[in-house]
Amino acid sequence: MTEMDETRPAEMSPVKRILSIIGGGILGVFALGVAVGYTKAALAHGVLGWKAVLVYLIAGIILLAGLWLMRKALAGNRLASTPRMREYQIVMIAMLLLGGVLGALLQFGAIGKSEGGLSALTSNAPVSPVIAAVLLATFPLLGWLCYRWHRTADEHEQAAYNFGGILALYAYFFISTGWWMAWRGALLPEPSGIAIFWLVMVVWTAGWGWRRYR
């Protein structure tokens, strides 16, 4: 049986909705990456020419496409009427928005350095000290949002989160030790902490999504 509520048959399926939200987010990050990457390259050569208008236009169209995808996926949603579930939804939205802002800041912080685009999220290249300080300053807010999430998420959500967390713990164990051992055996380059972080996050998200929407 699918998860679709039979009283609302016209709604987008949960899987399609999640894919649309993720796809929209990727398009948005990609568009920012294109704009930042071009700006960085153009400034390195001294001038932003007329081609910049075309690049920004294309990036803008990609960004709008991403926003359209996300808007379509979230259309018809409304906040829950009970205080607890409403706070849970607001915390989720706040986390998504904050994540988007921090990701964009990280990309812009890489301007003038050696990295831009999606690679700014995975590289160890230096970023602006001001941007780094701003990102670190948001950690208490992130911690508070996480605390409120755990206080308001229902037991089904918590179970999915815990399931993904267990998978992620095993992923961390095998990836970190396996990569480290392979590096010592000269089979792989030196382990990258941030690459391991993203791999673990992907496993966590996949486990959570499967358990919540299966």
């Binding site: 049986m1 998860e3 509520d5 009283t7 609302r8 949960p14 829950a80 009427s81 009970t82 607890r84 579930m85 849970y88 229902d154 037991e155 089904h156 959500e157 179970a159 919540r212 929407y213 299966r214």
Partner: protein
């Protein structure tokens, strides 16, 4: 674990979203309980039982009864 939640919900003409709001959980949680993919905790089982004015055993069946 088998349960009669979907039948009881239909008898009250509630959508999953409406039942979810009455139980203060997400619609996905209601769906997961209805389809047996999530066994509710005791506190949630009691909330469900009180909502339908039934005992827990009248709603949930672990197959050993």
């Amino acid at each position: 674990m088998n349960n009669r939640l979907k039948v009881l919900r239909a008898m009250n003409n509630w959508s999953q979203a409406e039942l979810a709001e009455r139980l203060d959980v997400s619609r996905q949680a209601v769906n997961a309980v209805e389809t047996g993919k999530h066994d509710p905790s005791l506190p949630l089982a009691f909330r469900i039982a009180r909502l339908f004015q039934l005992s827990i055993e009248e709603i949930f069946d672990d197959g050993n009864g």
